[in-house]
């Protein structure tokens, strides 16, 4: 029941937002997001890490076809629901700074998207999952397309087409799987599309080989994995900062979560067949993203490519099919979400003050803005995976997982940390240190409100870094379940 409340509240709030005008809409949207966070926190509090499928509800949705509205949470779902509920208020706060035209609609779309995201993370029925997957896409298309930069029409069109083509392949895969299942629980339909039914299928290896690519297509585009990433840097750059935060902070986790929940256990033999190839692509993505990031002149683009590189490592961890790799991916999803949202916020803060994002135009911010510099440094070190920060825990576990699979790949993937340090610290040096430029001469430090927005993120950087077990114990049960489904056959 709680899951349904978590799902319905944001969309209800988005509809009600229509009745608030101007400034009131801000307050209402932020309040609604906070209520959602409280609900999610309550779920975390009431959650028992030993049980799967909690707070679940199973209602017939299209009973003549055996499709049900079945939602519920296990530890992995809960982590991502928490991440979503935590980041959305912060993203809304970040949007306040921008004073968008028609801001009420903007906030409504963000809240609407929250429903889609939480739906993706809690769906226990394949078609509900697909449905929510697209529900999350439509708002972000408009957020990026209406409020984005000059090239928004072209760039968001590419983004929309890429993702929808990918997800249609996934849908085709699901439809095929659906027709292999047995009758629904109530006996009204010949087939059903529940997650459990998909897990119980024992399809021949040849079938799973091509099914793997149908389903993986959607996730590959969303994460994105090299070479399906070409939409990503443009979209991240053109989208307004809050939309970029949604895309990078939460939306790409849909892909990783999808792999863990809807790919590995559903087509284990297909995964077995293609594991090596995906790992190679992931490692290529790690190196490729990092090398391109080094060459970037635009702060936002640099973060976009760094995100590509870090996501590559998460994919590699997931496809190592080791407990430690999957656990690493679970916690790194949180860490990456926190860090990348913080980084994009600071990039946006700099852009709002100076009107530029070009690294060459910036410099010497430490003197005018010491607080901003410290915040930036903490988030940066988290991303670089310095010990004691959140990035370290995640990347360490991920690398260990990849090592366990193949030491050479682990070694190559490990380069990500070194390269990450190279491009991120270089950016820090050029933007924060060095002489002032004409753009930065009158730079002002973070305001109290901006700092208040960043503090929760900074707290999490250290919390996850120092006490990772708070989060790891939540996802452990789910990860073991997933792995047991994978090795069962």
């Amino acid at each position: 029941m709680l899951t349904v409340l978590l799902l319905l509240w944001p969309v209800a709030a988005a509809l009600l937002l229509h009745f608030f005008k101007g400034g009131a809409a801000r307050v209402a949207a932020f309040g609604a997001a906070l209520v959602e966070l409280v609900l999610a926190a309550y779920a975390a509090f009431a959650f028992n890490p030993n049980n799967a499928g909690q707070f679940s509800l199973n209602l017939p949705w299209i009973s003549s076809a055996g499709i049900s509205f079945h939602v519920g949470m296990d530890g992995l779902s809960l982590l991502l629901v928490l991440l979503t509920a935590f980041l959305v208020p912060i993203i809304l706060l970040a949007a306040f700074r921008r004073n968008f035209e028609n801001e009420g609609v903007f906030y409504a779309l963000v809240l609407f998207m929250e429903t889609g995201l939480i739906g993706v993370f809690t769906a226990q029925d394949a078609f509900l999952f697909y449905f929510m997957w697209e529900v999350a896409l439509i708002p972000i298309y408009f957020l990026a397309g209406v409020w984005g930069g000059v090239n928004r029409a072209k760039v968001t069109f590419k983004f929309f087409l890429y993702t929808i083509v990918g997800s249609l392949f996934m849908l085709a895969g699901f439809v095929y799987l659906y027709f292999q299942t047995g009758a629904s629980a109530d006996g009204l339909a010949a087939h059903n599309s529940s997650l459990a039914a998909f897990y119980n299928l024992n399809l021949p290896a040849e079938t799973q080989m091509w099914l793997f690519w149908l389903i993986f297509a959607a996730f590959a585009v969303k994460m994105p994995i090299f070479p399906f990433h070409t939409w990503q840097p443009d979209t991240y750059t053109e989208a307004p900062a809050p939309a970029t935060m949604l895309l990078s902070g939460i939306m790409l986790k849909m892909g990783i979560y999808g792999c863990m929940r809807w790919l590995l256990p559903v087509v284990p033999l297909g995964v077995d067949r293609w594991q090596n190839l995906v790992l190679i692509l992931a490692v290529i993505g790690i190196i490729y993203g990092a090398i391109i990031a080094i060459r970037q002149q635009d702060v936002k683009r640099l973060i976009a490519y760094s995100s590509l590189s870090h996501v590559g490592l998460m994919i590699a961890g997931v496809f190592s099919l080791t407990q430690i790799g999957l656990q690493g991916a679970s916690i790194q999803m949180l860490a990456h979400g926190v860090n990348v949202v913080g980084m994009f916020f600071i990039a946006d803060a700099i852009e709002r003050r100076t009107g530029t994002r070009t690294i060459a135009d910036l410099g010497g911010l430490t003197r005018q803005a010491p607080v901003l510099t410290v915040c930036f440094l903490v988030l940066l070190l988290g991303t670089v995976a310095l010990p004691l920060t959140n990035g370290f825990v995640g990347e360490f576990l991920l690398l260990e997982g990849v090592f366990e699979y193949n030491a050479w790949m682990g070694a190559v993937a490990g380069v990500t940390i070194i390269l990450g340090a190279v491009y991120l610290l270089r950016m820090f040096q050029r933007v924060m240190l060095g002489p002032d430029s004409s753009f930065t001469a009158t730079f002002t430090d973070l305001t109290g409100a901006e700092l208040a927005l960043l503090v929760p993120l900074l707290v999490l950087v250290f919390w996850i870094g120092l006490f990772p077990n708070t989060f790891l114990q939540l996802s452990e049960g789910s990860v073991l379940n997933i792995l047991s489904e994978v090795v069962k056959r």
Binding site: P60, W61, I62, S63, S64, A65, F127, Y130, F131, E134, V135, I138, F142, G145, V146, R152, A153, T156, F157, F160, L161, I164, V165, L168, A172, V175, Y176, Y178, F179
Partner: protein
Amino acid sequence: MNSIILLSVLGLGNLFLGFRRSNRLLLPAAMLMLVVVLGVNFLDWGTSQSFFNDMLVIDNFSVAFTAIVVLTALLLLPFSQKYVQDGEANLAEYYSLLLFSLVGAIMIVAYNHLLMLFLGIETLSIAMYVLAGSEKRSLRSNEAALKYFLMGSFTTGILLFGMALVYGATGTFVLRDISFAVQNPVNASLIPMLYIGMLLMLIGMGFKVSAAPFHFWTPDVYEGTPTFFTAFMSTVVKAAGFAAFLKLLVQAFPAASAQGLWLPTLTAMCALTLLVGNVGAVTQTSAKRMLAYSSVSHAGYLLIGLVAFNGQLEGASANGIFFYSLAYSIATVAAFGVLKLVSDARSREDYNGLNGLAKTNPLLAFVLTVAMLSLAGIPLTGGFFGKFFVFSAAVEKGYIGLVIFAVVMSMVSIYYYLRPIIAMYMRDADDEATATAVPVSGFQSGALLVLALLTVVLGVLPGLLAGIL
């Protein structure tokens, strides 16, 4: 049956209302009539009655499709408000013709006798020929009417010829008896005649629902016809046409030997229609012409429902066609409705005429967006579940290749359905006409909201209507 009688009488009544020389009453009166007809129609739900020696059979199938066509007409009527405001002299005639063509539509969803099919199609079409040319001073409208009339009468001839051959081979016009005769041929030498007759009927129906390669009249006729009537043509005619088509195949030609002939033909037509409709729509610059090609492409998706034939007027195939027709009709009415309002105010029908609409008329932009997403088959809208049901019916029957092709084609369709959205939300007004708001009455706003709401309800709670047949 009640709905047929009621509509005919009310249509006549409407003509008399026209004598009053005041248009004000006409629109509410016509809408009220349709509401009554819709209600009366549902009284027949769950019953099965036959009339005139089994020439018409009213059952759940016919009630469901009657509901689609009447509801579509009802939701479309508010967009004729401009005719009322302009003091259009022939408005009563327009409305009456619409009501009469609805009678034809109901006849072809309820027919049990080929004569009724023929009469229904003629009743439906003749009214449409007149309405296509209703803008008497517009060259394009005249051209559309003439083209539609010539093509329509030509295909009616083909259809009639097919019926005659079938009659010659089987000695009956009644669907079930034809089916019996096909399975137990009396005279083997007549079998080729039967099948030629069947194929001619197939071609005739293909023309009516604008399936390729018999679609070529569609873009010109749709573009030239006044937008209000184009909307009627592409929804009511198509929904009723497909219901009639399905009924013909299910009740007259379900035999395996007949299927062996028409199924490959339909499959080929379906693939071709999808290709022609979608690729044709991509290259258009006029939103109205795009919708014309899109209407061809939707005929292709509906044909998938026919290809997923299961020999019944219930089950996956019939339900798929029902849901698809409903979702498609609602979204198309919304799209044409917005387009009519915009083109009336800005006197242009190209994509750029929609520039900046999100700023001047957020409601119109929103409703058109919902309609486009529904036509493209994106979730949260009825169009998605329409496609989903039709495609899964075909997958269940093993037409995986065809469905993959259809999915690829719907990916293509996203390109042209996004173009109006991009114009409305991501481009700014480029001249004075596009910078000023389009006048929309409260009544029309209400109708648009209802259309958007229905589309979303179908997209969120498809269980309400899925599998009702």
